[in-house]
């Protein structure tokens, strides 16, 4: 008998006579409605010591440029709106063609991506690696990650985040959930930001429904 069949037989034997328990009804209560979802998102992302800025749709380009004044090489996903990185002063901007090796990616200072979902209560950004976010390595290897999240992409808590992510999973795409910069607490439980992932996470939250007055 193959190991597979053997294991399945053992499981069936172990469960003989056991109650087959049905999947539970989802009755764990609705999460508390948030009075201001964007404000909670900002507060919770800042809690992880990430930088968050709120901008108008027209202000993205300037905000990206202001964030990356010290970057000399910036990589972007192929589907990122090019005007977002149009004002970078003196930095070389490379759109990923899928051929950059890990070593080559290591020679970029920063990456700019969009996002799929933002979760307010946990301060989490989820990438579903669509064309404006690119493959996973892009937002991993460079040390600075500038992530543009639209207010319309925000949900209250984790349960509401699954539905908007499902199509990507069904299409076989990976997900990356990001809550602040890379961190460790392995040494005496003292939190240190920045181990292997980007040490700086800079979030630009773009107003959609209520454009902010110009600064």
């Amino acid at each position: 008998m193959s190991t597979r069949d053997d294991m399945l037989t053992r499981i069936a034997a172990a469960l003989e006579g056991a109650d087959r328990i049905p999947p539970p009804q989802r009755e764990y209560g609705a999460t508390t409605p948030l009075p201001d979802i964007a404000a909670t998102f900002v507060e919770r992302v800042e809690d992880y010591r990430a930088v968050v800025e709120r901008v108008n749709p027209e202000g993205i380009t300037a905000a990206v440029a202001a964030t990356l004044t010290r970057a000399t090489r910036v990589v972007v996903p192929p589907g990122l709106p090019r005007e977002w990185v149009a004002a970078l002063d003196g930095a070389e901007v490379v759109a990923d063609d899928g051929d950059l090796s890990p070593d080559e990616l290591d020679h970029f200072d920063a990456v700019v991506t969009a996002a799929a979902v933002g979760i307010a209560v946990t301060g989490t950004i989820v990438l579903d690696h669509g064309p404006d976010q690119g493959r996973r390595a892009l937002s991993l290897v460079p040390d600075v990650h500038v992530c543009v999240v639209r207010e319309s992409q925000l949900v209250g808590d984790v349960p509401e985040s699954i539905a908007p992510l499902r199509h990507a999973v069904d299409a076989g795409r990976p997900l990356t959930w990001i809550s602040g910069p890379s961190a460790t607490s392995d040494i005496e439980l003292e939190r240190v930001e920045g181990v292997h992932g980007p040490r700086t996470l800079h979030v630009l939250l773009v107003s959609t429904d209520h454009p902010l007055p110009p600064a």
């Binding site: 190991t3 597979r4 053997d6 294991m7 399945l8 053992r10 499981i11 172990a14 469960l15 056991a18 109650d19 087959r20 328990i21 049905p22 999947p23 539970p24 009755e27 764990y28 209560g29 999460t31 508390t32 809690d47 899928g98 890990p102 070593d103 209560v121 946990t122 301060g123 690696h129 493959r135 996973r136 991993l140 290897v141 808590d157 984790v158 985040s161 699954i162 992510l165 999973v169 076989g172 795409r173 990976p174 990356t176 959930w177 990001i178 809550s179 910069p181 890379s182 961190a183 460790t184 607490s185 392995d186 040494i187 005496e188 439980l189 240190v192 920045g194 181990v195 292997h196 992932g197």
Partner: protein
Amino acid sequence: MSGTFIGMPKFQTAAKEALGNSQQRRNLQHATGTIRRKRAGVVDELNNWDELRQAGAAIKDNVLSHLDTYLVQLEESLTQAGATVHWAADAEEANRIVTSLVRATGAEEVVKVKSMATQEIGLNEALEVAGINAWETDLAELIVQLGHDKPSHILVPAIHRNRAEIREIFLREMGQVGTPPPTGLTSNPRELAEAARVHLREKFLRAKVAISGANFAIAETGTLVVVESEGNGRMCLTLPETLISVVGIEKVLPTLEDLEVFMQLLPRSSTGERMNPYTSTWTGITPGDGPQDVHVVLLDNGRTDALADQVGRQALRCIRCSACLNVCPVYQRVGGHAYGSVYPGPIGAILNPQLRGTTSDVDQSLPYASSLCGACGDVCPVNIEIPELLVHLRTRVVDEHRGGIPSGEQIAMKGAAWMFSDHRRWEKAQKGAELSGRALGKKDTIGRLPGPLSAWSDARDAPTPPAESFRSWWKREKGDPR
């Protein structure tokens, strides 16, 4: 090589030694106290925590009671997504499968994401025998590996080490296996983490093969999930060409929606954060993104034995959050090594004897490694009734050593559930045991006992009841037991 740390004495012996190590105890007290406070804070933020715990337990019970069906579904989804599925009955088979997969790539080294399953099966040691270097990439695991040490906590395996010890290990060992730390390295955690970043980046960038576990495996879609903090997981899951994941068969979840429960329960229980820094999900192969050669090894290694025990099976709900370790007064005093397994603390005390059976000294003694104070069951995010299971396993250890004759201890154990349900009753009973401990004088173990207990005491030397119970010791030292 699997399971028990080689030559591990029974818990009480190892615990005695550990109790002599005051540096370790200070490190542990500090660390567990910090996580405990953080956990309590973020759990209090949710008004539906108990309902979430019940949902978590119910989802796991549904999975376990249909495990065969869900595993076949998982296999189908994974295969459809381009992954290759392997089945491993035990540690040896799993190690053999992984070793031959690595060999087939021609690689002589692998990078590893922290994974309890691969520790459980002793994969690193098996790879070493095959001439393959396995590099642990989680900072704490790196500290343990470089220190030729054993993990002592599920979440923070180097919790028993302080910064000065870590600095020493880095200075002594790092240069021998790759990029050395900078000269003038201090014991500042920031500098130590930076040294690990530089040391490991070289390995990430050149690695051809990665090995991981998985926190969850979604049957419906074939999606694997890894929850982490540092980004070492993302590096391993993304950059190499080949990815091999060793996944315990109890890790299955039916649907993507189930993540909404566990992604609330796990980070809050584990690190005491609203969310861990990084969670990665992948579904087989994604063209143009990440490893294009993806393998999943489904691991039994005693899990079907645990499943067959109607009471014990709930231990398979465990999501390895380690909350029960951090609240356990016994764990906090003796540390993780005394449990003789990669699963220490209360979960170790109930899981190890079920996964490995109760033939060894250490596995027979583990169900006794508890004061039954109940704190572990209270924090468990999937509602595992750990104290009840400990009592259940004590009965089993006793039963297996008496060969069918009703024993005094068995009868006593039947009454134990009643006794432990009220701590005053328990304290009174322990007082009785203390008294008998004194009456037995200085002998370390009880030899042959008369009457109905003889069948049991003939089979093993039972430790004498302590002269002072843990609870009354705790009360005397610390005031209130919690």
